[in-house]
């Protein structure tokens, strides 16, 4: 993140986090809506009807997982709205959005690790044919963007003195 000088004061430029939050938030919301549709169709119609792109994008028919994606997306978009209105503290939403997306990615990966143990170590018959791709889902691969942002902006979220705002 850049620090610009404006009227003699240091002012933080939020344009990069804004672009990042817009892109990431939109992706989470979009895939959340697709996952929600897949889940709703599975309940209301049955497993025979497929929502387009769900197989290609590894989207499970999981309604609660869909709410999690929508929630993460909303956090990012909420921050975009605040930053766009000139509220610097809106950057908090980008920070927390990154944290929550990484927390849920970690949860999904730990669940997948459990399944891997079932399939390869315990040879559980319920997991015959399981591969790591079986558990791939938007909550995991979408977190790559926040992960890069977290690494790149590690120092950005250090305490910020108001005199610099």
């Amino acid at each position: 993140m850049d620090i610009k000088r404006e009227n003699g004061n240091d002012v933080q430029d939020t344009s990069t986090p804004m672009v990042f939050s817009t892109v990431t938030g939109s992706l989470y919301v979009l895939l959340g809506l697709l996952q929600l549709s897949a889940g709703a169709i599975r309940i209301l119609i049955g497993p025979d009807v497929q929502v387009p792109l769900t197989n290609l994008l590894f989207i499970p028919a999981d309604i609660i997982g869909a709410f999690v994606l929508l929630l993460i997306g909303t956090v990012f978009i909420y921050g975009v709205i605040e930053m766009h209105s000139g509220i610097f503290e809106g950057i908090s939403y980008a920070y927390v959005g990154i944290l929550i997306s990484l927390i849920f990615a970690a949860i999904y990966m730990l669940v997948s690790t459990g399944n891997m143990l079932e399939a390869y170590l315990l040879k559980n018959e319920d997991f015959i044919g399981w591969t790591p791709a079986s558990d791939l889902r938007p909550g995991i691969y979408l977190a790559i963007l926040p992960l890069f942002a977290f690494i790149k902006w590690k120092n950005m979220f250090e305490p910020i003195n108001e005199s610099r705002l």
Partner: protein
């Protein structure tokens, strides 16, 4: 002979690190949490240092010594009545001003004070500057800097304790309250001193100030004094509320005068804690984020634990087979195989779930997030007539209901406290988890995590609705206003989280070896007799008991076996699963038990849902009933809690089962 015994008391505001310091000094493993009110009873430990035997007492956190809540009374009474050699006030350096209010009150009590400055790292990270020498000079009290989490500064502290004890030097310090109030203080002191038989442990000036502030607890201590009437005549002549406010103002004036000389605050800074709070306490996003995080925790508790459960299952199945084939006579083989291994084993299989759940709860608590959960729920809680602080005991109830009910002591208002005690048993504790894992895992496959999460939400919902009903019927009134300090977010230490996980998980294992073992032996006896009947059949005693209660349970979808298991679950909820393990005679294999349950036409997905809800809500375990009696001091409320829980459980289970059937499930 020289006195080598020193008694020190740790006091201070809630959540400033007293218990962390206590653990560091004494080597204890008392529970530490990142929210106010973790310590509700005083704890004692010892440390030997340089030939001295030092007794350390950890007191509950308190913002003042005004005795508005039970934990404040515990702290105050200890300091006054036990007269520790030194009172160590642990102070949060990042909140110095507010912490000094208690300091002023401790000084009035005439205690020998030593100030421990904790959390300096947080203050300095945000740019504050602390002048410790100046602080010592202005407060006329030694100030020691420690980092209790890293065990830094402990030797300095103990050296200073010994030095203070040896010096026997008292640092007097008084706050002036202005002519008018000082005259009244003097008037009361003059009257009180005439009573030769008064309790001399209480300093006269302190008693006089407390009486002017309208302290009922102190009034109660002089009610039998011959001078009581004259003291009350002075008190009645003043506007007490005005005096109370004026006294508090004077204390803050004193603090505000000295504070700038001992600390320079950085300009307002947007810290990481501020950033996280802005989002997690957002009025629209706060509750959905809370629910999502809790769902994630339960999903992980179920899914990540499954392979570890299977591993225990495999090992125990082998042990069970080995024992059954090598033990004679048959009845002994049955007792060990069907009874002990079948029952206790059925419970032990869930140890991984318990450990993972407690580890995750410890992470959430240690990070400071659970305190935010209470904050975001406050508005909703107030609307339904509950105190916001009640949500903390409710969250603690996820671990165990017993300490959760005790945690209600931090609630000042008696009615708020009573409602909290009555609704905490609806919160799903760790002991109920094996029931959910068994039935959700058997009947709901990959949706098991979500079903378990739904049970926890059901518990919270029923607790909230019950609070509303109680507030509008039996315990009428409005909840007191809620003020709670939000602790800063911290990265929880792995060590603390692992200790918390182990302590709670081990308690579960210990129960399996004691109360659950005894329970399964009783069930085995009832399932094996009268002599000669088929084990666990309808002709056995257990079958007779089951059939006796079956008519009451049939509308909920429970057959006689499930009914028996629920009866034995009154002792401890874990026994429900153990009893099912014994009655289905599947050894200790949870996989075999699941298969037997699936094959039993008497148990369906719908009835298992009804069973999970009933197990969640019906009478709390014996230990919880005991603590309800202790905390309410009333058999009436204890019996009410039991009966109310059973009735609510029956109604909810009935609605689930019969409603589901009406919908065609």
């Amino acid at each position: 002979m020289e006195d080598r015994e020193i008694k020190i008391a740790l006091t201070g505001n809630p959540n400033v690190g007293k218990t962390t310091l206590f653990n560091a000094l004494t080597g204890s493993r008392q529970h530490v949490g990142n929210w106010p009110g973790v310590t509700v009873e005083k704890k004692s430990g010892r440390v030997a240092y340089k030939g001295y035997n030092i007794e350390v007492i950890d007191l509950p956190g308190t913002y003042s010594l005004t005795a508005y809540s039970m934990d404040e009374i515990v702290a105050r009474d200890f300091i006054i009545e036990e007269k520790p050699d030194i009172v160590i006030q642990v102070v949060d350096a990042s909140n110095l001003e507010r912490n000094l209010y208690l300091t002023t009150q401790l000084m009035e009590l005439g205690s020998e004070i030593l100030i421990v400055l904790n959390m300096c790292d947080i203050a300095e990270d945000r740019g504050d500057r602390l002048y410790i020498d100046k602080m010592q000079e202005l407060l006329a009290t030694p100030v020691i800097r420690t980092v209790a989490t890293q065990k830094k500064g402990l030797c300095d502290l103990l050296d200073k304790v010994i030095e203070q004890k040896e010096l026997k030097q008292h640092h007097g310090h008084e706050i002036g309250y202005g002519n008018e109030i000082e005259e009244k203080i003097l008037d009361i002191e003059k009257v009180l001193i005439e009573d030769e038989k008064r309790d001399k442990r209480y300093p006269l000036r302190w008693v006089s100030i407390r009486l002017l502030e309208g302290d009922d607890n102190v009034k109660g201590k002089i009610v039998n004094s011959p001078v009581y009437g004259r003291v009350m005549a002075i008190i009645d002549s003043i506007d007490q509320e005005e005096y109370e406010a004026e006294i508090a103002d004077k204390r803050y004036l004193a603090i505000n005068t000295i504070f700038p000389q001992m600390c320079t605050r950085a300009n307002d800074t947007l810290t990481k804690s501020d950033m996280i709070d802005r989002v997690l306490t957002n009025k629209y996003l706060g509750i959905p984020i809370f629910l999502a995080l809790m769902w994630g925790a339960f999903e992980l508790t179920f899914a990540f634990a499954t392979p570890f459960m299977d591993m225990i299952d495999l090992a125990a199945t082998w042990a069970s087979e080995y024992v059954s084939s090598s033990i004679h006579p048959d009845w002994l083989a049955s007792l060990v195989g069907d009874g002990i291994i079948g029952g206790v084993g059925a419970v032990l299989v869930f140890v991984p779930n318990i450990f993972i759940l407690f580890f995750l709860l410890s992470l959430l608590e240690g990070s400071g997030y659970l305190a935010r959960a209470a904050f975001i729920m406050d508005k909703l809680m107030y609307k339904i007539g509950m105190h916001g602080k009640s949500f903390i005991p409710m969250l603690m109830g996820f671990g165990c209901n017993v300490p959760a009910i005790m945690a209600a002591r931090s609630i000042e208002d008696e009615k708020d406290r009573l409602i909290t005690i009555l609704i905490v048993p609806f919160i799903s504790c760790g002991a109920r988890l094996p029931i959910y894992v068994l039935f959700a895992g058997t009947f709901f496959g990959r949706q098991a995590g979500t079903v378990i999460f739904a049970m926890y939400i059901l518990g919270i919902a029923i607790a909230i609705v019950s609070a509303k009903i109680l507030r509008e019927t039996i315990v009428k009134g409005k909840p007191a206003p809620f003020i709670m300090e939000l602790p800063p977010y911290r990265v929880p230490t792995l060590k603390t989280s692992l200790i918390h996980m182990w302590d709670n998980g081990f308690m579960y294992i210990k129960k399996a070896g004691t109360i659950i073992l005894a329970g399964v032996v009783v069930i085995w006896v009832l399932a094996s007799f009268p002599w000669g009947v088929e084990y666990g059949s309808e002709a056995s005693y257990v079958g007779s008991i089951g059939h006796a209660v079956e008519p009451l349970m049939k509308p909920l979808g429970f057959d006689w076996k499930i009914s028996v298991a629920l009866i034995f679950g009154l002792v401890a909820k874990e026994i429900v699963v153990a009893s099912i393990g014994v009655l289905y005679g599947t050894g200790d294999s949870s996989e075999a038990l699941s298969e037997r349950l699936l094959a039993d036409s008497g148990v369906t997905a719908l009835s298992s849902l009804s069973l999970m809800a009933f197990s969640l809500l019906y009478m709390p375990c014996v230990a919880t009933v005991g603590v309800i009696k202790k905390e309410t001091g009333s058999w009436k409320w204890t019996i009410f809690a039991i009966v109310y829980g059973i009735v609510v459980a029956w109604i909810i289970a009935f609605l689930i089962y019969q409603g589901g059937r009406l919908l065609g499930y």
